[in-house]
Point group: C2
Chain length 208, copies 2
């Protein structure tokens, strides 16, 4: 992440309390402070007072939340982006008022799914579109699920309904694309998908 | 991942030895086997003999590698996709002959970077393009770094060169886009990016 930003010409400072990692990052040319990122004075020294945004990615759930509070108190103008370890962690960060939360394994999981779809014969643009739809649905669901997470039955109910919605949307997407392309009907297509990947003899659709 | 595949009409079976998770996944309508996924007989019962591909995502590095060997021995026709915990894990999986390896936090990290670029004023299509370039470079670098990973100095040397290459590519991309759009020169642009995000008064480019 720091490498992507720096490579894009954005001044980036890293705070890390793993001395070996600090050594490596410094030798790769990044500006790195060694120490506990939850310390207000260290954040100040690292330039948090003049920064536009801060990315929180501590390995420990409680420390990450502590850092949210420190930043909100001492640097209220900093936009916070936070990496969440899992769903419960994401909910806690959202409860603490963080608007930009990223579950750390979510996108790789999604990419793995996209690659699986492609290996099973789905076309690249279809797989990508399915992933975008999935992510949008999942982001929306996250807020709704957060509200009912203390009640397991209600939680599962919402999750089930969300999954059904998503399946309808994705199959509708697929059907619509295919019908436009080749005039197949929805029933034939559904069986087609469930039983095997699209045959290679299909006319190649235009990327859109 | 399972949800994305199922929502796309792909028959998906999960093997998991976390009984609570098995319960939840089943109640969400997924086909789930409870037990140790490294067991050959359980893989067989779950249908590995007729499947097209298998996704390995165990939490434990050694178990994941063990599963690679079991699959390669008993189900040689199955395409393996494997989630790696980190770089060393990715290298070990590649050494074991797995061609499709996905570092579990890589894509979320990249998306976090894309969002940061957008919040700093970069346009969506530029941020997305930078991420694609970054990923392609990083995938290529992974193989090269794997070859020299036992030698720390050589490793850092390759990493530094790769980062410099990437920075050149990304800045060239950016310059090219910008020059076409507004006729700015490269020097002005570089200072611009380092000091502040692009002003909102820019002419809006056409998404391409």
């Amino acid at each position: 992440m720091g490498r992507l930003l720096r490579a894009n010409g954005i001044g980036t400072t890293v705070l890390d309390n793993d001395s070996d990692r600090v050594d490596i990052l410094r030798r790769l040319g990044l500006k790195v402070f060694y120490g506990d990122a939850t310390r207000h004075d260290l954040l100040e020294a690292a330039g948090a007072g003049n920064a536009r945004l801060i990315v929180l990615a501590l390995d420990n759930h409680e420390r990450n939340l502590e850092l949210v509070h420190t930043v909100k108190k001492h640097f209220p103008n900093l936009t916070i982006l936070a990496r969440a370890i899992d769903r419960p962690d994401a909910y806690a960060l959202m409860d603490a008022g963080v608007r930009h939360v990223y579950r750390e394994t979510f996108d790789s999981s999604l990419r793995l799914g996209v690659e699986a779809l492609r290996l099973l014969g789905r076309r690249a643009y279809q797989a990508d579109r399915a992933a975008r739809t999935f992510r949008r649905h999942d982001d929306e669901a996250l807020d709704e699920l957060r509200a009912v997470r203390e009640d397991r039955e209600a939680y599962l109910g919402v999750a089930r309904r969300r999954i059904a919605d998503l399946e309808r949307t994705l199959l509708a997407d697929l059907t619509e694309t295919k019908e436009t392309e080749a005039g197949w009907d929805a029933e034939t297509l559904r069986a087609e998908i469930l039983s095997r990947p699209a045959p290679p003899s299909d006319p190649e659709p235009t990327e859109s």
